[in-house]
Symmetry: C2
Subunit: 367 residues, 2 copies
């Protein structure tokens, strides 16, 4: 599988949903496989909150492959022998596309809080412009989960026949207060940590020891990515062997897991990006810019597949089903299909239990 | 209704489950109604994590009544014209019973981290000793929810025929990693807040502005006390009117709620107590000290009622039902009854939706 990582710079302004502009801006993206002569085999993969453009393959010297490597590759469900797969780091993120720590032109100083609020619609618009530059005016498919699913849905509404197939999973039509509450814990933990210095931190300070604000908040996030059942299986009530039950700071395995992952994450993910991306998730509402959800969905022309996971406690399967129900009720039943995956893993099932939906994806996009 | 608030001091050591001792110790408690001549009408109410001995009635000048005032009082489900109701602040708490900020005898300095880890079993033991001093050698009933439900269950196992009726609600037989994970967020947020000063904080510093560590952690707690459905009803996607949608710190109503409650709570609840009580909840396991859960439950002689709430996402109803199932399977079916409350409120239903179970309680304990 051929992997190419590239950066494109755009000097025309990106007009944001807020009325503000981003100018100039850069987009980092990765491609797998080859674009065919007809430019008709492109598949866009959209990533989640902490994801990046590195969706598949393994970089030299790296232990871990891309975040959806099990799904994308030669002979896999998204077959890179057949498809030209593209994944773009969203604006606002911290993997190379323009975000709050990018220099604010013409200065070399980072935006920090001067960065504008970006929305899922803005993320999608930027990707649409990039695809245009690459000479791709139609996609074979768009596939994404969680915030990636929001992007897939937003693509379907704003660029109705841009993609032949759209697969959105583990997402929603409008973020519920339940999810906003989880994000609030992270945001508050970040902003109130003195080392955040009102956004004027030096990122190098966090690279070694991590950053408590983001780590603590991310722990709350991890709860929402799992489920009681998957935690029972993963950890049970097992205790860290060297820790005493009656020691105040003696630890259960689940506590060690949260610490390890929370602090680990805080060493490499930028806290300002976390604030901006969770804001984008919070204000995600497919109906915004349209008269109603019904009107927004009426625009859709793509073959739309909604995948929900039974014990997803962040974006519940009924939220995905609701989209199919609304579309069905207004005569769009032939365009849409809702598929529920049996799972008690929790939200992260879309990243973990690939075997439960990869055949479905292969069937939809063609093997 | 006659309300009496009292404190008792015990100079004999309290032998703790950990092998350590607490000596001396004090217990603050409140009573409602009158003990009859036979001393047979006492009902013990056991409180939850952030609860206190102030379960009912209203103090002069206070706006809010006790935390279960809707349930306890003259003519109410727990009728104080008939019953002598007692509620004891648990050891480890911060409402007057001995806890980590109590002086460590013989010094006048607070224990802080020198306070021993206490368990639900220890909390129950201390209450048993207090009741003994009050000349009460049998209870008509014990009723509690959440950690109060754990205490009720622990009472039933350790002092098998001490109470005629036992009603435990919204609790479990052993705390699952899911709950431990929520508690981890609070504990980590507290401990890593620089103002915590490794436990050497001055509580007065938090009384006015609050304490971020506890506030942020408590926000995560609030998520676990509600449910997606109750948040939809309470807040929806409503925005704070004066806040801009495209302002990074513009707020949804649910965010304002979490801030208000998180910071408010942190002004009056002691963070060390929070660490110790969540530890007690984390290590709650009804089988500890017995060969198995089955053996522990076999000891029970009280008429036991287990109440679960359908959308309790902290202590799931199936955990309560499991206790009834185990008892039923080993021939104790006549002693136990499981009652499931239809509700989508979440864990806090045991504090909020009293009308859904107060008749049940009145039926069990007699009106």
């Amino acid at each position: 599988m051929k992997i190419v990582t590239k950066k494109e710079t755009f000097t025309n302004p990106l007009y944001l949903e807020s009325g503000r502009i981003l100018e100039p801006y850069e987009l980092v993206y990765e491609t797998y496989g080859e674009l065919n002569d007809e430019r008709s085999n492109a598949v866009l993969i959209t990533h989640a909150l902490s994801g990046s453009h590195h969706a598949a393959g393994r970089y030299e010297g790296e232990r871990k492959p891309g975040w959806w490597d099990g799904l994308i590759g030669d002979g896999k469900a998204v077959d890179t022998k057949k498809f030209f797969v593209i994944c773009v780091n969203v604006i606002g993120s911290c993997y190379g596309s323009t975000g709050p720590m990018s220099p604010m032109y013409p200065s070399l100083e980072p935006y920090r809080f001067r960065f504008p609020v970006v929305t899922v619609k803005d993320m999608v618009k930027a990707q649409r412009i990039l695809l245009d530059r690459l000479g791709i005016d139609r996609l074979h498919a768009i596939i994404g989960g969680s915030m990636g699913g929001m992007q897939a849905l937003r693509f379907a509404v704003e660029y109705p026949s841009f993609a032949r197939h759209t697969i959105a999973m583990a997402a929603t039509y409008a973020t519920r207060p339940w999810v906003i509450a989880f994000n609030k814990v992270v945001q508050e933990a970040i902003v109130k940590d003195p080392r955040f210095q009102n956004g004027n931190y030096d990122p190098k300070d966090f690279a070694e020891e991590g950053f408590t604000g983001l780590a603590v908040g991310r722990m709350a996030g991890h709860i929402s990515y799992l489920s009681p059942e998957s935690m029972d299986r993963k950890f049970g009530r097992a205790y860290v062997e060297t820790d005493g039950l009656f020691e105040l700071f003696g630890k259960f395995q689940v506590e060690r897991y949260l610490e390890y992952n929370g602090y680990g994450f805080s060493k490499w993910f930028d806290p300002l990006s976390y604030l901006y991306i969770t804001k984008a998730i919070n204000i995600f509402d497919l109906s915004r810019g349209h008269d109603s959800l019904e009107e927004a969905l009426k625009r859709i022309r793509t073959d739309l597949h909604l995948i929900g996971f039974q014990r997803d406690l962040l974006f519940m399967p009924e939220e995905m089903r609701h989209i199919a129900d609304v579309m069905g009720a207004q005569g769009q039943g032939e365009l849409v299909r809702y598929y529920e995956v049996e799972s008690d893993y929790g939200h992260d099932a879309f990243l973990v239990e690939l075997e439960k939906f990869s055949d479905y994806i292969a069937d939809v996009i063609g093997k």
